[in-house]
């Protein structure tokens, strides 16, 4: 500290005698050193006062009083600064924790896209922030049945991610790919309803694909309706349902419907992040997606997903506002 005081005196003295850029620059660099050594603002003023007293012998009494006054009032400033620094440190700690949590979530919710014979499956799921509030769960018993769950938890970030882990374990415990979709939703609803608070819920579309008969059986709990493209008719069908979101009421019953898929038919399952055209209200989102998918139906399912995502990113100027998930199954 003594050395710092002496250095400061020299720098200040040089500047008083010659107010050039170089001397000012030296002073600015010196302050950086003081900041590194955690010297408080009031201590800087105190150093300045002492240096000035040494340089100018007959410094008026009132100037010294004025400095003392400034030192006192700057104490509060110094405290605020310390508080700010400690907040920055805490913020950094939280950022690191979030990174770790996101990594854990990625591992937990990792999805492997099955590759059964006779069915082409593609998927893209892109979180808006670090943690994803969307989740896709596949189950394939390597025999006749394959199941797909596309899920969206209300909200984003950490609370959504925690809820999603619960959904994943719920789905895992159901174990069999051949369960009825309506049954799966009923069980999950019970589980979620017991565990979440009032403003929280989950939307899910659950489908089971019979690889022998090419029948897709689906159920929806408040989820964005899937799109079914019937190739022979060259027409889309909206797989609409008015059944309730998961987690709102206990003992909800769900229904299920069958679709027979023929060659070149495809089904698009998605979350509401895909159809949220907040800033492009001149477009009908579902119509737009239908056309996009149609224009790239010659591609395989994965390429279709990637292509639709890319086109929508362009449409929204690379500012998608929600977690974004599309699954395409194509016969």
């Amino acid at each position: 500290m003594e050395q710092l005081k002496l250095d400061y005196k020299t720098i200040l003295s040089n500047y008083i005698h010659n107010q050039n850029e170089r001397n000012l620059y030296i002073g600015q660099n010196f302050i950086k050193r003081l900041i590194q050594k955690n010297v408080t603002p009031e201590e800087v003023i105190s150093i300045h006062k002492q240096a000035l007293e040494d340089i100018i012998e007959d410094l008026p009494e009132y100037t010294i009083h004025a400095y003392d006054f400034l030192i006192e009032v700057m104490v509060h400033f110094g405290l605020k600064l310390k508080e700010h620094q400690s907040l920055l440190m805490k913020q950094e700690e939280l950022r690191i924790e979030m990174e770790v949590a996101a990594k854990i979530q990625n591992t937990l919710l990792e999805t492997t896209i099955p590759n059964p014979e006779g069915l082409d499956i593609g998927m893209i799921s892109v979180p808006l922030r670090k943690m994803n509030g969307d989740y896709v769960h596949f189950m394939h018993d390597h025999k006749r049945f394959l199941s797909i769950a596309v899920t969206d938890v209300v909200g984003k970030g950490v609370p959504a991610a925690l809820c999603m882990s619960m959904v994943k374990y719920g789905l895992d415990t159901l174990e069999y790919a051949n369960s009825n979709p309506s049954y799966v939703l009923e069980v999950l609803n019970q589980l979620i309803e017991k565990s979440v608070d009032d403003g929280m819920f989950v939307s899910m579309c659950y489908g089971r694909y019979d690889l022998e008969k090419d029948i897709f059986t689906w159920s929806s709990a408040g989820h964005e309706p899937p799109l079914y493209y019937h190739s022979r008719e060259n027409a889309y069908y909206d797989l609409e349902s008015k059944e309730l979101l998961l987690g709102i009421l206990p003992d909800v019953k769900y229904s299920q419907k069958d679709i027979k898929l023929n060659d070149n038919d495809f089904i698009i399952l998605m979350t509401d992040g895909v159809t949220d055209f907040r800033n492009r209200e001149e477009f009908d989102p579902r119509q737009y997606i239908k056309e996009l998918a149609l224009s790239c139906r010659h591609l395989n399912a994965q390429e279709m997903c990637d292509n639709i995502h890319k086109q929508l990113q362009v449409l929204h100027n690379y500012k998608l506002e929600d977690d974004f998930t599309i699954v395409i199954i194509k016969k």
């Binding site: 969206d152 209300v154 909200g155 984003k156 608070d197 403003g199 819920f201 349902s241 008015k242 979101l245």
Partner: protein, 111 residues
């Protein structure tokens, strides 16, 4: 974007006019405003959504929470003047079957 809610009482009916966009950022503000309402089984609540220009699922969460509280307190809650887009949101989530929702038209909740 801002969210604004104004209330007016008409006998036993509490009318609320919500104005603005309901998304991740404004939903907590709306939630807080709705939580402040003192509910008792002598009143009915009608919320006018005609001036809600955008709502995402976070907004839906706010109304679900408020609906649950209203049901617990035995209070009639009605959402009125929903745009086509909002109506659809309540329909595909199954909430329109559960909650009392009235689309379009001129309601008497205008303030």
């Amino acid at each position: 974007m801002d969210i604004n809610i104004q209330f007016r009482e008409e006998g036993n009916l509490l009318l609320g006019l919500i104005e603005g966009e309901i998304d991740t950022f404004t939903a907590p503000i709306l939630r807080e405003e709705l939580e402040k309402i003192e509910l008792s089984n002598e009143i009915s609540v009608e919320l006018d959504l005609s001036k809600v220009s955008y709502m995402d699922s976070t907004g839906l969460g706010v109304f679900v929470a408020f609906y649950k509280r209203a049901t617990k307190e035995d209070v009639n809650l009605k959402l009125v003047n929903l745009s086509t887009r909002l109506t659809r949101l309540f329909e595909i989530t199954g909430l329109s079957e559960l909650m009392d929702i009235e689309r379009g038209g001129i309601g008497h909740a205008s303030i």
